[in-house]
C-alpha cells in the first residue's frame, strides 16, 4: 500500500513538473527588440560596446547584445547553431571560403545596394571577400582589410643607425647586423603553421611576380609547379638564419611577446598586430616597410585580404532591425570609429585612420599590393591551399620537404577539388 501511494505521489510530482516546464517561457512581451550579435573578437568587447552604444543612441527601441566566442572555436559553434535553425541575428563572418559555405547552405540573407546603400561604395575586390561565387550575391558588409608587411622597432633601428632596406640583399644584411648586436632580427616562428602562411604572404609575391602569377594560377593558366612559385619558396628559406633560435618551437604568442618586449627588431606580420603590440608595450615605437624584392624596382609587395564581414542570419526573427544595424556597420561613421578604436584598417571606403603606423601601412598597400594568395583563391574546400601551404612550409623549414616537393604537394592537393586544375 505504502509503495503504491509513494508511486502515485511520484507520478503527480512528475506531472506537475511537466506542466510547470511547459508554461515557463513565453510569458510577457518585450517592448524593445534585442538583436544578438556573435563574433570571434573576445579581445574587442569594450570597443564593440562603444560602437553599439552609438547605434542604440540613434535607434531607440533596438538594443544589441554582443556575444564573442573563442576565435578557434567560433566556426564550429556558429555552424552548429545555424544548422539547428538558431544562432544570432547578426553574424560576424569569416571571409572567402568560410563565408561561402554558410551562404551556399542558405543560412544568410543576401545583401545589395537596395537594402544596404553603403555597399555601392565598396570596391569590387573587397566585396569578393563576402560574395558567394556560386550565385554571385554578396552576403556581408566587409569590416576590415588586413595588410602584411614588415613591422620594425624604430628605437632599435635608430640606436644602431639602421635604415629601411631597398633590396632583398639589404634586407638580409640588415638581419645579419641585428643578429650581431644580439637582437633576434625576425620574430617569426613556425610552431603555429598559420604564421608561416603570413610569412609567405609578406615575402613570396616579390619573387613569384605579384599579381601576374596570382591571376594566372587562380585562373588555372599555370600551376603551383611553376618555377616562379618554387623560386619564391626557396627565397623564403633564406630568412631562416634570422629567425629566433629553435624557431620551430616559437608559437604565435611568443612572436608577439618577442617583438613587443623588444627582443626582436622586426616581424613580418599583419596590420592587426599594431593594436596588440601597443597594448603589450605602450612605449613601443614602430615603423613599417614592405618586404623588398631583388631589385629596388621590382619588389615591395604588401599582401592584402579582406578579414571578414558582418551578415544577417536567414533564421533571424528581427530582419528589419538587423538590416538597420547592418546599414550602420556599412557607414563611414562606423568605419572611422572602427579604425580609431581598434587600430585596424577599416574596409569602409574613404576612412582615413588617425593612427600614423596604420596610415603608413595603407599607403604602402596602395602603392603596390598582391592578394593573400591561398586565402583569396584557394580556401574554399578541403584540402584548402592554406592547410597544404601551412603544413608543407613546416615540412620545408624542418628540412623534411624541398621547395619542389612543397609545390608538387600543394598542386596535387588542390587538383582534388579546384576545377581549373582538373582540365
Amino acid at each position: 500500500m505504502r509503495k503504491s501511494r509513494f508511486l502515485l505521489t511520484c507520478l503527480v510530482c512528475v506531472a506537475f513538473l511537466a506542466v510547470a516546464v511547459a508554461a515557463g517561457p513565453g510569458a510577457g512581451a518585450a517592448a524593445k527588440t534585442e538583436l544578438t550579435f556573435w563574433s570571434w573578437r573576445t579581445e574587442d568587447i569594450d570597443a564593440y560596446a562603444k560602437f553599439i552604444k552609438a547605434f542604440e543612441a540613434k535607434n531607440p527601441g533596438i538594443t544589441v547584445k554582443f556575444i564573442p566566442y573563442k576565435n578557434t572555436e567560433y566556426n564550429t559553434i556558429l555552424a552548429t547553431a545555424l544548422q539547428g535553425g538558431t544562432g544570432p541575428d547578426i553574424v560576424q563572418l569569416r571571409s572567402y571560403g568560410g563565408m561561402e559555405a554558410l551562404a551556399a547552405a542558405g543560412y544568410l540573407v543576401p545583401l545589395d545596394a537596395g537594402t544596404v546603400p553603403g555597399l555601392a561604395k565598396f570596391p569590387k575586390d573587397l566585396l569578393k571577400g563576402a560574395t558567394n561565387r556560386g550565385d554571385g550575391k554578396t552576403y556581408g558588409v566587409p569590416f576590415a582589410i588586413q595588410t602584411i608587411q614588415v613591422i620594425y622597432n624604430r628605437t632599435i633601428f635608430d640606436k644602431l643607425g639602421l635604415k629601411e632596406p631597398a633590396t632583398w640583399d639589404e634586407f638580409l644584411k640588415l638581419g645579419a647586423a641585428l643578429k650581431a648586436k644580439g637582437y633576434v632580427p625576425l620574430a617569426n616562428g613556425g610552431k603555429d603553421g598559420w604564421t608561416f602562411e603570413t610569412l609567405f604572404g609578406g615575402v613570396a609575391a616579390n619573387f613569384y611576380g605579384g599579381n601576374e602569377f596570382a591571376d594566372a594560377v587562380i585562373a588555372g593558366k599555370t600551376t603551383f609547379n611553376d618555377p616562379r612559385f618554387v623560386y619564391a619558396l626557396r627565397k623564403m628559406l633564406e630568412l631562416r638564419p634570422y629567425m629566433p633560435a629553435s624557431f620551430m618551437g616559437v608559437a604565435y604568442t611568443d612572436m608577439q611577446m618577442m617583438f613587443a618586449q623588444e627582443m626582436a627588431a622586426m616581424m613580418i606580420g599583419g596590420s592587426y598586430e599594431i593594436g596588440t603590440f601597443e597594448r603589450l608595450n605602450p612605449n613601443l615605437k614602430m615603423g613599417v616597410f614592405a618586404v623588398p624584392g631583388e631589385k629596388a624596382a621590382d619588389g615591395g609587395y604588401v599582401g592584402v585580404y579582406v578579414d571578414g564581414s558582418y551578415g544577417i542570419n536567414a533564421a533571424s526573427k528581427h530582419k528589419e532591425e538587423a538590416l538597420r544595424f547592418i546599414n550602420f556597420l556599412a557607414s563611414a561613421e562606423y568605419g572611422q570609429m572602427f579604425a580609431d578604436e581598434l587600430s585596424q584598417p577599416s574596409a569602409v571606403p574613404g576612412v582615413k585612420p588617425k593612427h600614423p603606423v596604420l596610415a603608413e601601412m595603407l599607403a604602402l598597400a596602395e602603392k603596390r599590393s598582391a592578394p593573400h594568395l591561398m586565402l583569396v583563391g584557394f580556401r574554399f574546400e578541403q584540402p584548402s591551399g592554406s592547410t597544404l601551404l601551412q603544413n608543407d612550409l613546416q615540412g620545408m623549414f624542418s628540412d623534411k620537404l624541398t621547395p619542389e616537393q612543397v609545390a608538387a604537394d600543394i598542386q596535387a592537393g588542390l587538383a582534388k577539388w579546384y576545377k581549373p586544375f582538373q582540365k
Binding site: R2, T72, W194
Partner: protein, 320 residues
C-alpha cells in the same frame, strides 16, 4: 511493511501494486536510459548514418554508399593522413603501455611496501591525474617553450645546453614529448589500480613462496605477476581505449593540424579537422561525411581491439 498481510483488505489495489512492482525497474532505469540514448546512442547512430551520405558543407545531399569510406581509405591525401594518424596512435599506445607496465608497475610494487613517506609519494603520483588535460597541456606548453620555458633553461644550467631544442616544434621530438607529458598525467591511474590489485593478493602466498626459498624476484615473477595479470589486462584495455581516442592534449598543445608537419596527427585530430574544418587555418569548410566515416572507423578499431582484449584477459583468469 510486508505486502502479504495487507492483501485481504486491499485486493483491488493489490493488482495495480503487483503490476507496478513487476515493471517498476523501468522507472528507475528510465533517467539513465534516456540520457544515455539521447547523448550516446543517438549521436553514434546518426554519425554512422551521416557517413553514408554526400554532404555539401552542412547540407546533406544524396546517398553515397561506401564512397566516403573508400575516399578515406584509398584516396590521397586522406589515406596518407589516416595511415599516419593510425601509426601515431599505435605509437602513443605502445609507448604509454610500456611506461605504465614497467615504470608504473615498479612504482606500484615499491609503494605497496607501505610507510608514511611512500603514502605521500602515492599522493604525489596521483595528483596530476586529477588535473584537467587542458591545464596539463598549457602547463607543459609553458615549461617546454624554447624561449622562456624552464626545461631548456634547466638543461643549459646543468651543462646540457646542447640538448636544448624546440621540443614541440621539432618533427623528430614532438610526438615523443606529447607521450611523456601524457604519461606524467596518466601514470597515477594505473599505479593506483595496480596498488589495489597488489593489496588484494593474500600475503600467505608470498610467505609460502619465501619459505620455499624463492628470491624476491622469483616471488614477484611467479606469484605476484600472475595474480596481477587480470588487473594489468584491464588497465591496458582502458589505456588502449583512451589512447586511441586521444585528442584534447594534442589539440591544446599542437592545434588540430597535427603540427608540425603532421608529426603529432592522431585519429582524433584528423577526424576533428576533417569534420569541422581546420580551426587553425581559419574558415575552412568541414566535411561531415568524411569526418563521420573516420569516426566510425575509429569506433570499429577501438571496439574490435577492446573485445579481443577483454576475451584474452578473461581467458587468463579462467586458466588461473
Amino acid at each position: 511493511m510486508d505486502g502479504r498481510h495487507i492483501q485481504p483488505d486491499f485486493g483491488g489495489i493489490n493488482v495495480l501494486d503487483r503490476l507496478f512492482r513487476r515493471r517498476i525497474y523501468w522507472l528507475f532505469l528510465a533517467p539513465a536510459l534516456i540520457v544515455y540514448t539521447v547523448f550516446m546512442v543517438y549521436p553514434l547512430l546518426s554519425s554512422f548514418g551521416y557517413s553514408f551520405f554526400r554532404w555539401n558543407g552542412y547540407i546533406r545531399e544524396g546517398f553515397a554508399g561506401l564512397a566516403n569510406y573508400s575516399k578515406v581509405l584509398f584516396e590521397s591525401p586522406y589515406s596518407e593522413r589516416l595511415i599516419g594518424a593510425l601509426k601515431h596512435n599505435v605509437m602513443f599506445f605502445t609507448a604509454t603501455f610500456a611506461i605504465q607496465t614497467t615504470f608504473g608497475l615498479f612504482l606500484a610494487v615499491m609503494l605497496n611496501r607501505g610507510g608514511r613517506f611512500l603514502k605521500a609519494c602515492q599522493v604525489a603520483y596521483f595528483a596530476p591525474y586529477t588535473l584537467s588535460m587542458v591545464v596539463v597541456g598549457f602547463l607543459w606548453l609553458l615549461l617546454l617553450n624554447p624561449t622562456w620555458g624552464q626545461v631548456n633553461k634547466i638543461l643549459a644550467a646543468i651543462g646540457l645546453g646542447r640538448f636544448a631544442r624546440p621540443w614541440l616544434g621539432d618533427t623528430a621530438t614532438a610526438l615523443h614529448t606529447i607521450v611523456l607529458v601524457n604519461a606524467w598525467r596518466w601514470l597515477g591511474f594505473p599505479i593506483t589500480v595496480y596498488l589495489a590489485g597488489l593489496q588484494g593478493i593474500p600475503e600467505e602466498l608470498h610467505e609460502v613462496a619465501r619459505v620455499d626459498g624463492a628470491t624476491p624476484w622469483q616471488v614477484f615473477r611467479s606469484v605476484t605477476l600472475p595474480l596481477l595479470a587480470p588487473t594489468i589486462g584491464m588497465v591496458s584495455i582502458l589505456t588502449f581505449i583512451y589512447d586511441f581516442n586521444a585528442f584534447e592534449q594534442i589539440f591544446v598543445m599542437q592545434g588540430s593540424s597535427g603540427s608540425p608537419f603532421y608529426s603529432t596527427d592522431v585519429l582524433g585530430t584528423f577526424f576533428y579537422r576533417t569534420a569541422f574544418g581546420d580551426s587553425t587555418t581559419g574558415g575552412e569548410v568541414g566535411q561531415v561525411g568524411l569526418g563521420s566515416a573516420i569516426a566510425v572507423l575509429m569506433f570499429l578499431v577501438v571496439c574490435v581491439a577492446s573485445i579481443i582484449g577483454v576475451r584474452l584477459t578473461r581467458r587468463q583468469e579462467v586458466e588461473m
